[in-house]
Structure formats: structure tokens, C-alpha cells
Amino acid sequence: MKIKILGSGCPNCKVLEANTKQAVEELKIKANVEKVTDITKIMEYGIMSTPALVIDEKVVSYGRVLTSEEIKKFLK
């Protein structure tokens, strides 16, 4: 599973990244969490509000900092 966090480095993006890593760890799944900060790459996903969560190239959430519990629902 490939997970991407889209965000230009604002504090919210870091929280989302931490929550995602926590969710991945607690579910014990194999996933690669990558942070995308390049604005041109971020814009290719069609989002305008960051941070966004992308799982296997699909945008599952944007403009919101999800809790690790919320992220788990997307990972299952």
C-alpha cells in the first residue's frame, strides 16, 4: 500500500503525517508513507485545501486533519 501526505509543510500536515504513521503501525500493515511537498505535484491531484491523504493514488480526504482512528477506516 502506498500512502501519500500532500501538504506544503504547514503544521497541520505534520500532524496528519504523524497520525497516519500511528494508524499504520497500530494496524500492523505494510505501507509506505511518503510526504509530498512539491506544489506542482500536489496540484496534480486536483485538491486546493491541504493537507490531503492519498492512498494508492486516490485522494481519500483533503483540507482536514484526520485522527488516526479515521485514517484506519480508509486503510482497512
Binding site: S8, G46, S49
Partner: protein, 320 residues
């Protein structure tokens, strides 16, 4: 009847009867501080909740679809209206700008939105309502709206597309985003979360601002500013705007102080221009916008917004 009247009575009882401070300047200032704080936090909670709730219907991804279908002055008006309900943090300016331009929103309309979003701010509106009454809050919203419509319209007419950084036009969106559907309960929950996070962020500034305001209210001489910044001093408006630009992060603290200064002879138009400069233009925002705007366009943008604010200041000084 004033809905805050019961609070005033309770505060009067607390300060004058319980603390026995009637007649002293300190009691006056303390009464002012407690009453204003309670009133402003109630207004902040109510207004932020209402605005945030409406905002859940206005995700930028949806806004860009609405705006890409409107042109010219109607586009500027729609963009400025939507800008009233949307907040603006400098970290979202770049994705917003690129997203709008990419989906075909005209540059002038994009600017109307970019100007209105920070200029008309719900925290400022709540503070103005609490400290000056709803008429002034409405006046602030209306003049902010007109500034962003006119400034965006002028920018659009100047055909400045070539001064947008070139890479912006090369970005192509690869996937079509599905807009999230939310239930009323989810929207209310989100709005409640906004109230909590905004109040947590601004409350120290508001309290410090009100405390300084209360001090000025109680101790500063009545005509403190009449002589140095009264209506006769025509340079006062631009100077107030120049001081206001770097004060962005403290918008919440600045307004209560300014409200006390008005009692001491600061003209309302000058005060309004100052507050607008505080919320509308900020250094971090200008630096961030440099990523998408070439220097020339950036300078034109800042100049037009500044001119609009200064003009509003003069207008209100002249009218009121």
C-alpha cells in the same frame, strides 16, 4: 433591548457591589474589561460557528467550479461574497491561486476572492460588533466587499496574465476529485471544531487587547489623539495603513485597542483603514504569493489593495 444588558447588570454588581469599586477609575476599567471580554467571547463563538457552518458548503474545490462559470463584474461579486465566508491562511494561498487559474477562473475574479478572504474576517467582524455595534461591523463587511470587487475588477481589466509565474499554466490536474458529501451533523461538528480552535488561538490576544483597551479607557486623557491624528491630519490614514500591514498575527488584539483609541479622538475612518490593513495585507502572505506572481504583479496587487483601504478610510472620515 440590548441582549447583553443582563451581563452588564451582573458585572456591575460584581465590580461595584461585591468588590466595592464604585466611583474609582480602576473599578471603571475593570468593569469595562470583564463586560467586554464576556460579550466578545459570546459573539466570537456564535459568529464563528455560523460562518464555519456556511463554509462547509463552500469547499475551495467547489468554489472554483462556481467561479469558472462566471465572468467580469458578476464573477468579482460572487468571488467577494464567497470570500466573506472563507478564511485565509497564507499556507493555502498558493494552492488556491493555482487551482483557480488552472480551472479557468479569470485572474481578476481570482484576485477578488484572494482579497476578500483575508480582508473580511469573522473574528474582526465579531470584535467590531461587540465593541462598536452591528452597524459598524456591517459597514466593515460592506466596504471590504466593495474593495475586493473593485480591486479584482481593475486587476482583471489590466490583463496581467503574463505576470503570473509560467509554471502555473503548465500544471494539469490528473484526476477529477469527488466532492465530499456531508451530513448536517458532520457540518455542525466541523463548525464546532472551528470555534474551539479559533478561540483557543485568539483568546490571549483578545484578552491582552481588551486589557490594554480598558486601561486606555480608564486612564488615557480624553483628547489624546485628536491633536496628532484627528480629521485635520490628512496623512494619518496612509500612516495608519502602513503601521497596520506588519501587525497581521495580532488582528484579534489590535481591534479592542483601536476601539478605545476612537474614544480618545481617533477618527473612525482612520481606525477602520488601520484595522483593514492589519487583516488584509500581511508580510507572510505577500512572500508566499511571490511563488505564483511575478514581482510586477505582486506590487500592483499590493498597491491596489492598499489604495482601496486608504480610500475607504478617507471616505468614512468624510462621511461620519
Amino acid at each position: 433591548m440590548d441582549i447583553f444588558y443582563p451581563i452588564q447588570i451582573s458585572v456591575n454588581w460584581l465590580v461595584y457591589t461585591l468588590f466595592n469599586l464604585k466611583g474609582s477609575i480602576f473599578g471603571e476599567a475593570l468593569n469595562f474589561f470583564i463586560y467586554d471580554s464576556i460579550k466578545i467571547f459570546i459573539l466570537l463563538a456564535v459568529i464563528i460557528f455560523a460562518v464555519s457552518y456556511i463554509r462547509t458548503y463552500l469547499a475551495p474545490e467547489k468554489v472554483k467550479k462556481i467561479l469558472s462559470k462566471r465572468f467580469e463584474i458578476f464573477g468579482n461579486m460572487t468571488a467577494s461574497t464567497i470570500g466573506i465566508f472563507t478564511p485565509f491562511c497564507s499556507c493555502s494561498a498558493v494552492p488556491l491561486f493555482i487551482g483557480f487559474v488552472e480551472s479557468g477562473v479569470p485572474l481578476g475574479v481570482t484576485f477578488s476572492y484572494l482579497i476578500a478572504a483575508p480582508l473580511i474576517n469573522e473574528v474582526a467582524a465579531a470584535l467590531l460588533w461587540g465593541l462598536f455595534g452591528w452597524e459598524i461591523a456591517l459597514l466593515y463587511i460592506a466596504s471590504g466587499w466593495i474593495i475586493s470587487v473593485v480591486a479584482g475588477f481593475i486587476l482583471g481589466k489590466m490583463h496581467l496574465e503574463k505576470y503570473v509565474e509560467d509554471y502555473v499554466y503548465n500544471i494539469k490536474v490528473k484526476q477529477n476529485l469527488k466532492l465530499e458529501k456531508k451530513t448536517k451533523k458532520q457540518r455542525a461538528k466541523e463548525a464546532y471544531g472551528e470555534v474551539k480552535s479559533i478561540i483557543k488561538r485568539v483568546f490571549p490576544y483578545v484578552l491582552i487587547g481588551i486589557a490594554i483597551g480598558a486601561f486606555i479607557h480608564g486612564y488615557a486623557p480624553e483628547n489624546l489623539l485628536t491633536n496628532i491624528a484627528g480629521k485635520g491630519h490628512w496623512l494619518a490614514v496612509p500612516i495608519a495603513v502602513l503601521i497596520g500591514v506588519p501587525l497581521y498575527s495580532n488582528a484579534a488584539g489590535v481591534i479592542p485597542i483601536v476601539s478605545s483609541l476612537i474614544e480618545k479622538g481617533l477618527p473612525l475612518g482612520t481606525a477602520l483603514a488601520f484595522m483593514m490593513a492589519v487583516v488584509a495585507l500581511s508580510l507572510p502572505e505577500i512572500i508566499i504569493l511571490r511563488k505564483v506572481l511575478k514581482p510586477k504583479l505582486l506590487i500592483i496587487y499590493v498597491t491596489i489593495v492598499t489604495a482601496g483601504i486608504i480610500f475607504t478610510g478617507y471616505l468614512f472620515n468624510f462621511l461620519i
